[in-house]
Symmetry: C2
Subunit: 190 residues, 2 copies
C-alpha cells in the first residue's frame, strides 16, 4: 500500500532495539483517514473469506480493527491485557511476551464473544516475532473459531514472525513489509 509506505518513510523513526516509531499516525496520534484506507485495503484482501468478526488486542490494534470491521459490517472484538472487574469470569486466556514493553502479560477474551461459528480476521498494527499474534491465534483456537485471515499494517520482515506463520499456512497479508531498517533508512520488500 503505497500511501502507507510513503507515510512510514516520511514520519517513521528507527530507534535502537528494532523499534520503528510511527506514533504520528498509528500508535498514539491516529490518522483516521489513512487508517480508513487501511481498513478498505484489508476488506479488499479478505472480502471473500466470509469474515464474521475482526479480532485484535488492545490498545494499538483497536483503531485499525474498528475501521476494518466498518468495511466488513461485522463487530470487532479486542483482547484485554488488564484484568478488570468489568470482565466476565468465563474467558479464554493466553500469555504474551512483549519485547517493546519488556514484560509478559495475559490477554483475555470473553467466551461470549467468539465461538465455533465465527470466521475471524485477526488484525494488528505490527508483526515482529509474532508473540502477540500467537496469543490471539491461541485464543481463536480455544474458541473453536476459524481464523480465515491475518491482516498486519507493518511487518518487520527481518524478524521471523511472518515467515513462520506463512509456513504454517496462515493467510497472512501485511500492507508494508520492512526488509531492513537502520541509520541508512527504511527499505521495504517489493
Amino acid at each position: 500500500m503505497d500511501r502507507l509506505k510513503d507515510e512510514i518513510l516520511q514520519n517513521g523513526e528507527v530507534r535502537d532495539g528494532n523499534i520503528l516509531k510511527v506514533d504520528n499516525f498509528l500508535n498514539h496520534m491516529l490518522d483516521v483517514e489513512l487508517l480508513g484506507e487501511v481498513g478498505k485495503e484489508f476488506y479488499r484482501l479478505f472480502r471473500d473469506e466470509g469474515i464474521t468478526k475482526v479480532l485484535t488486542l488492545e490498545a494499538s490494534g483497536i483503531a485499525i480493527a474498528v475501521l476494518t470491521a466498518q468495511q466488513f459490517k461485522v463487530p470487532a472484538v479486542f483482547a484485554k491485557k488488564v484484568d478488570s472487574q468489568n470482565l466476565d469470569r468465563e474467558v479464554y486466556t493466553s500469555k504474551v511476551f512483549s519485547y517493546t514493553k519488556g514484560l509478559e502479560y495475559t490477554i483475555r477474551v470473553s467466551k461470549k464473544y467468539i465461538g465455533k461459528n465465527d470466521k475471524l480476521l485477526l488484525i494488528d498494527d505490527f508483526l515482529a516475532d509474532g508473540n502477540a499474534l500467537r496469543g490471539l491465534l491461541d485464543i481463536a483456537k480455544q474458541s473453536g473459531a476459524e481464523t480465515k485471515g491475518i491482516g498486519i499494517v507493518i511487518e518487520k520482515g527481518f524478524l521471523d514472525g511472518g515467515k513462520a506463520l506463512r509456513a504454517e499456512g496462515y493467510n497472512l497479508k501485511s500492507l508494508a513489509i520492512v526488509e531492513r531498517m537502520g541509520k541508512e533508512g527504511i527499505v521495504f520488500r517489493d
Copy 2:
C-alpha cells in the same frame, strides 16, 4: 440517543459497585455500526466548535474517538496508560485513579501531538466520578489547547462527575445519562 439507550436496556448488566457492564457493544466487543452512529451524534453536537483533534484515553475510548474523528475529519489522539520504549520522552502526564480497576495510573500524551493551537473534543465511554476526564483536562491545560467540548457515551448521573464539570462551565454532552440503576433495572434521565 434512543438507539443507544435501547441497547443499554437490552444488554447492559448492572453489577455490584455501581458497575454497568456493556461489554457487548462498547467495552470488549464493539458494535461498530452503533458506535458509528455515536460518532455522528457527537459531530452533530460539536460541529460548530472548530474541533482540530479528538482526545481520549486507551483503551475503551479509542473506538469511539476514531469513529468521531472520522466525522470531523481530524486526527484522534489517545493518552497512554502504559509506559513504553516507543513513547517520546517529552510528554504531558497526569495521574488518574480508576475505581473499576482499583489502582492509580499515569496517563501520557506526547507534546508533539497536542498544542496551543488545538481545539479539543474530549471523548470517553463512561463518566462516573470524572477522574479519567480530569486527567485528560489536566493534560489539555498543560498543552495550552482549548477544550471546546466533552462527549461521553454513558454518564452515571447519580455520581458527581458530570454535575461538577457542568458547574465549571464545560460543554459536556452525554448521550445516555443513567439516573439510577440496580436490581429493578436502569432508569435514564430525560
